[in-house]
Amino acid sequence: MERAKSFHRRKIVLTFLGTAGAILFLGGRLAHLMIADSEYYAKLAQDLHEREREIKAARGRILDRNGVVLADNRTVCTVSVIHSQITDPERVIEVLSKELEMDEASVRKRVEKVSSIERIRKNVDKEIGDKIRNYGLAGVKVDEDYRRYYPYGSMASKVLGFTGGDNQGIIGLEVEYEEVLEGIPGRILTLTDARGVELADTGESRLEPVAGSDLVITMDYNIQQYAEQAAYQVLEQKQADSVSILVMNPQNGEIYAMTNVPEFDLNDPYELLPKLEWQAGAEEENPADAGTTQQDALNQMWRNGCLNDTYEPGSTFKIITAAAGLDAGVVTLQDSFSCPGYKIVEDRRIRCHKTAGHGGETFLQATQNSCNPVFIEVGLRLGVDRYFSYFEQFGLKQKTGIDLPGEAATIMHKKENVGQVELATISFGQSFQITPVQLATTVSSIINGGIRVTPHFGMQVRERDGTLVQVFQYEKDNRILSEETSATMRYLLEQVVDGGSGKNAYMEGYRIGGKTATSETLPRSANKYISSFIGFSPADDPQVLVLCVINNPQGVYYGGTIAAPVVRNIFGNILPYLGVERAITETETEANF
């Protein structure tokens, strides 16, 4: 046989060297990929393999000032099935449709769907979830979750607000204090294969969630209850559209109670309230916009009338005119006036509510009588410039800064458009609009010694175990009125209750100051009224202020007749509760003899 020649061997070695060179080159290429580019590709691969699952953080609770829990969490379950792990689909379908009270066909559809994980139902009660878990069915997963729960249902619904499906605040304090309440969600990082199935033995990195903090608010559960009872009572009696009651501490702006009845159920916020029986059929809905009606109706139901809506304050605003007039020195309590039942301003004849006229009266008496011509006179004496500068000084142009979303701004004339007639109407609280909370805040500031307060609910942030995290601070040195004028105003308003139009708020043993109002809503032709009363006690050192606004009452609509007794009723309940001492008044002392 032929022997190999030397050129054969040379070429064999050459070929080997060639292949060796190629292999070495590839080795270098590999080293480049696995060292220089390693990070880049490894990162891409990591993104591909990792699945991130969020663990919800428990939302902080909302507590009243005494620690009563107003908003809490309840454990609910989410039931899902993992298709690839189900061994006995018929049994799974049977158990799930029975326990979850769902029809078999829809359960079957989800169980038989080929997907990595299929959710059967959310927000399942914990007991039912536990029961399903105890069946021990392969491929059925019961995950626990938190859901917001409001122990008192509809109480303070418009203040507290509620949360959505993702546990995020939608209205009210739940939105305003979202950052305090929400907490930090945790994460579970798991590795999965290409089908998205989690790998059991690769270990998961877990970041624990941080629970949200508790919010302590200035609301007092008991006072809120009294206020709501009183509001529902008058709503019913007077067959009104709605009643708003606000109870606050005039010294520091803490709000003890805020209600706008009818309130809605916080645990079922998307359920529209039934129409008030006296309104059924009164307003025919336009069927054309049925599509938008549902959401509009819900938004309407969720509105907090105390701050989302404005109204013409009417005679209660005479407090502001009086304070401005006294402070500017254009009037004193003893100044005499004469009321013929009307006042002519430029070409207009503006009537007093007492058409026969109050006759001769001092400013004190005129306030007791709520006499329009006298207040028009005071307003005109101040003039547009000075009136507007007081309006601004008292803080009426700005929002109050209350810690609730959606506060409505004051609707006021532009100064350059205000003539004598407009000034006259402003002086007794007409032709402009403010929110109830603005009125209550401004009056609080006028009677508390003259310091503008910020109305608020937020008081403290605490950990779940009670550890104090933060105390909210509010501005308290913004003087808007002198101490003396403030004292005069307290005296003046006590006289309104003692012997004037606010006498229905009078209660033996307590010193109460206040002012009534009856305003006609726009359009005037509709003959709809808003009756209101704002009162405070003790009159010499106000600890609590109550504003009651009744929208569209039927029958008698005078604020002094229907709103003042509501406030008296609330005072009767809460003054002893707040520990306000009964004062020995002169009348009582005399009566003892």
Partner: protein, 356 residues
């Protein structure tokens, strides 16, 4: 006979046995997930491969003990059989993944293109040593013409294997011919032909575009997944069995892309070690070829060296995205019964050559 038969090359035998064992372990690791998902048996691929390897080792033992000169007589019939089988597969073959490559005999399936490789090596070795008296160019051209039919038959549905066969033939003819220059022309001409060939069809050009920027093409998925696996390996890898990319991300991790998952599990160190083992094996083939008592033996050993070298180089080049993607398996490691069987038969042949 010029010399008496001696002992087999111990290093070569050791390398072959080590690669076979290593291949089996790695294959189990790579294929367990796919086996579990598709067949409910993590050892599905392992068992089939184990069976083929056992059979292959027996064949290798038999062939190594034979006097390889005996095979010279069977070179032409063996080649004719391979032509027949390759023809048959076009007519009766089973399609898998869209390619007709398998002939089924009862429960066993057989890939004629794998058999064609040793058949061509044997044929070329025999024909070249027979035609030594002829003028070198005449001999080279006529021998080359002999293998064109099998290249054509295999190439109709398995271009990669046809290219391997062609490569083996070119290497063997290169060695049998004393001249260098004509092969340079062939190399250049081949390159030019390849360029024209690729640009004729747009789908081939697309392959080039995917190669340049695999991230931007959906069809670059396989390449990118391979690169992810390689990149996640780092220097020492995730450890045997810990690859994530084999969990369905790298398609068919036990086949062509197996080297990328080896990189992921064993790191750069493991991958370079494996390449070194292949290099050592090629070296032993070279030693066997240069020490062979006759041209026939030298050509057989060279053909086997060329075969292993081409597959190893092309496979790693594809996986590292050094060349455009084409389906070439990694010898001893990738899954494939026929491939492993004939590979081990070739090893027997090389061992037999090393004995003389």
């Amino acid at each position: 006979m010029l010399r008496k038969a001696g002992r087999v090359d111990g290093i070569m035998l050791l390398l072959v046995l080590f690669l076979t064992g290593f291949g089996l372990v790695v294959l189990y690791s790579m294929s367990a997930y796919n086996g579990q998902v598709r067949f409910g048996d993590a050892a599905y691929y392992f068992k089939k491969q184990f069976f083929a390897m056992t059979l292959g080792l027996a064949v290798m033992y038999g062939v190594a003990r034979m006097d390889y000169h005996m095979l010279e007589r069977f070179a032409v019939p063996a080649y004719l059989i391979s032509l027949a089988l390759s023809g048959a597969v076009l007519l009766f073959g089973d399609a898998y993944n869209g390619s007709r490559r398998w002939l089924s005999i009862g429960p066993l399936s057989f890939q004629p293109s794998e058999y064609a490789k040793p058949a061509v090596i044997l044929l070329l070795a025999a024909m070249v040593s027979r035609m030594q008296k002829k003028k070198s160019m005449v001999m080279s051209v006529s021998v080359f013409a002999l293998i064109l039919p099998i290249v054509g038959l295999v190439g109709t549905n398995n271009l990669s294997t046809a290219v391997i066969i062609l490569g083996i033939a070119v290497i063997m003819i290169f060695i049998s011919n004393p001249r260098y220059l004509p092969f340079l022309w062939i190399l250049l001409g081949g390159g030019g032909f390849l360029g024209v060939f690729l640009s004729l069809e747009s789908y081939r050009l697309e392959r080039i575009a995917i190669w340049r920027n695999p991230e931007q093409y959906e069809k670059g998925y396989q390449t990118m997944q391979g690169l992810y696996a390689i990149g996640s390996g780092g220097v020492f890898g995730r450890g045997l069995g810990n690859s994530l990319q084999k969990l369905g991300f790298v398609p068919e991790a036990q086949n062509d892309m197996i080297f990328s998952v080896i990189c992921e599990e064993l790191g750069l160190a493991g991958a370079l070690l494996l390449m070194l083992l292949f290099l050592l094996l090629l070296w032993r083939f070279m030693v066997a070829a240069t020490h062979a008592p006759d041209l026939f033996g030298a050509l057989i050993a060279t053909g086997i060296m060329g075969h292993i070298a081409i597959q190893v180089i092309l496979n790693i080049a594809v996986v590292t995205n050094t060349i455009p993607n084409t389906g070439i398996t990694l010898p001893f490691i990738s899954y494939g019964g026929t491939s492993v069987l004939f590979l081990l038969a070739e090893m027997g042949l090389a061992l037999s050559v090393s004995r003389w």
